[in-house]
Symmetry: C2
Subunit: 362 residues, 2 copies
DNA sequence: TTGTATGCGTTATCAT
DNA sequence: ATGATAACGCATACAA
């Protein structure tokens, strides 16, 4: 037994057949006589050959069987967001027919070490870009330069790149309308991060927001409440929402808070409880995403329900279509407004401002 | 311009150099004169060549730059568990030096479609197995058959496979001791899933538990409370803990509940609140993992703190070591007991049993 | 049903 | 510092 691993040629020789015949036994693409197959299998067994080397196969076929997903954040952070979890489910479903695995890639930005696996150097068949910021365009260029299919989820990818969008602005506008219809005029907004830096604080330069989701949802809120204070968080989590809620409930107290995600909304509710406020009697809160916030019961958030799994599925289907030479479909998904028990008509006792009331309804 | 993509040979020809020289310009492994480099870069640019084809490179070098992580569950479920998130952070840190990407693979079991990307057919350099059940051994065989390095996290992998373990039993025993020292005798246990089927309900066949973590932690509890009722959940989540808590608090009410994860413990606390019980006055609760349960404040769980990131890092370091021909290290990590505010001495008013008290302390 | 021939695109080795 | 050569292991078109 040589130290070198057996190849299909070795197996073929051992079995007394040609390499192509042996190859065909493993790929199953051509009919082979049972006798021949048995010989080949036996030879493989005796040589410890466990199947074709994927590297060589992929060079030959031009397919690696891998689709990359590019996250903006640390992998751990991506894992912590339930919306991503649903998206991954949809994506892996859509990829199942072509049997592609999912390669997690992190958008390292320009300061990446050269050794980092990247869109440039990973053996992939296609890529799904996620996250909608300034870097997406560059990433799209990279992948396209390699001649690989790309789909973009919630980002602006440029012409003829299939994109999966959400009606973020319109949906958020609906929630804001709902809140206004309940009589709320003093409203505050808790937003997702505005850019890669993820700094907390009140928004000053809203035109400079580079995260599409953040910008679009904020615009939807602005359509109804052009002057409401908006506070940016560092990520979509309950604790970030809690921190933002504390800030917003400390000063001129709003009667309603529009949060850009359910996780943030859940945090805002905790902040309200902490401040001795009842939700929704003293403070109305809306979320976004329609996920199940583990442990938030008995509250049922008033929120916009999005189908995150559908986003992943659509992106997966788009790259599969392109891989098979078909025309990919772009898609704009709609959110569904769902009224829960966290919004109620403004009450006279609510919104006890610590300072003068600001009338910010548009 | 031909329809075929440019190769390094085309670039070399265009630049008037040899293919090997052009190759070296991209790999940077050998010194090249500035003039030559510039020529090659320019030629590449003009031909739209974006760098070596990773498939061909990996065939030639024998490296794909990809490490697989095998999960037992749906990808979405894996994403929802905070312990996995931390583990991924550690793993990607450890893999950074060799610049390997992370391929998500799901343990499909025997009923997988042939097309599924798997340990057998994915172009990977190594694998990290996670999840400690009956299937791990088969997976190890598969990967080893390919001659690839493997590391196993919290599972029994057989000889000379590096494994990253936690002192689950000892740690859980500590927590149980703590609870006993507080005077608790009527104790119940909420466990992680017992096997792949993930059925909820009281344990009957504890010897038949195939998930190592579940079995080991349960044994630790059994060292102190051999007869405490143990209820299995379907996954580690607050809602599962809530459901289990409801069951356990409905009948003969224990004065303390040992949960096998913090998420489960958080759910148990919610169940207690729901039942009008105060934690820790009426019910003591312990968790496991030491994660930050988003939104659980003001409770600080009494729990066993594990360093999940260290688990991922150790697994990553083990495969990197093997890839570099060094000896990999197995590692057993210890949990640290952390007393929070969810455990207290048993009080005379607590544990108002609906039936007769069962003395189950050992 | 099986075999023959060829090339997928690269990089390591060695010589120059 | 650069170039020539030879694999890397496989899968397909085509011939037999």
């Amino acid at each position: 037994m040589s130290s070198r691993r057996a190849t299909i040629a070795d197996v073929a020789r051992e079995a007394g057949v040609s390499a192509s015949t042996a190859s065909v036994v493993f790929s199953g693409k051509v009919v082979v006589s049972d006798a021949t197959r048995a010989k080949v299998i036996a030879a493989a067994e005796s040589l410890g050959y466990t199947g074709p080397d994927p590297r060589a196969a992929s060079l030959r076929t031009g397919r690696a069987g891998i689709v990359a997903v590019l996250f903006r954040e640390r992998l751990g952070a991506a894992f912590r967001d339930p919306v991503n979890a649903a998206m991954m489910d949809g994506l892996s479903d859509a990829l199942a027919p072509i049997g592609a695995g999912i390669l997690l890639l992190r958008d390292e930005g320009p300061d990446a070490p050269a050794t980092a696996p990247s869109l440039t150097s990973a053996p992939i068949d296609a890529a799904v870009l996620l996250g909608c910021n300034e870097i997406v365009r560059a990433s799209v260029e990279t992948v396209r330069g390699r001649g690989l299919p790309v789909a973009v989820i919630e980002g602006d990818a440029g012409a003829d790149i299939p994109r999966i969008l959400l009606d973020n602005r319109e949906a958020q506008r609906q929630a804001a309308e709902h809140v206004r219809s309940l009589g709320h005029r003093d409203v505050a907004i808790v937003t997702l991060p505005r850019d890669g830096a993820r700094r907390r604080g009140f928004h000053d330069d809203e035109a400079g927001i580079t995260v599409d989701v953040t910008r679009d949802r904020l615009q939807g809120a602005r359509d109804v409440y052009p002057d409401a204070p908006a506070y940016a968080t560092a990520e979509s989590s309950i604790d970030e929402g809690l921190a933002a809620g504390r800030v917003l409930l400390a000063g001129v107290r709003p009667t309603a808070i529009l949060a850009q995600s359910d996780m943030l909304a859940a945090g805002v509710i905790r902040a309200a409880e902490e401040a001795g406020l009842r939700v929704p009697e003293d403070l109305s809160v809306t979320g976004f995403d329609g996920i199940v916030v583990d442990g938030l019961a008995p509250y049922a958030l008033t929120t916009l329900v999005q189908d995150a799994a559908a986003k992943g599925r659509a992106a997966g289907e788009a790259v599969v279509a392109m891989l098979e030479g078909r025309e990919p479909a772009s898609l704009t998904l709609s959110c569904t407004f769902r009224r829960g028990n966290t919004t109620a008509p403004v009450s006279v006792s609510a919104g006890k401002a610590l300072g003068p009331r600001s009338d910010s309804a548009g």
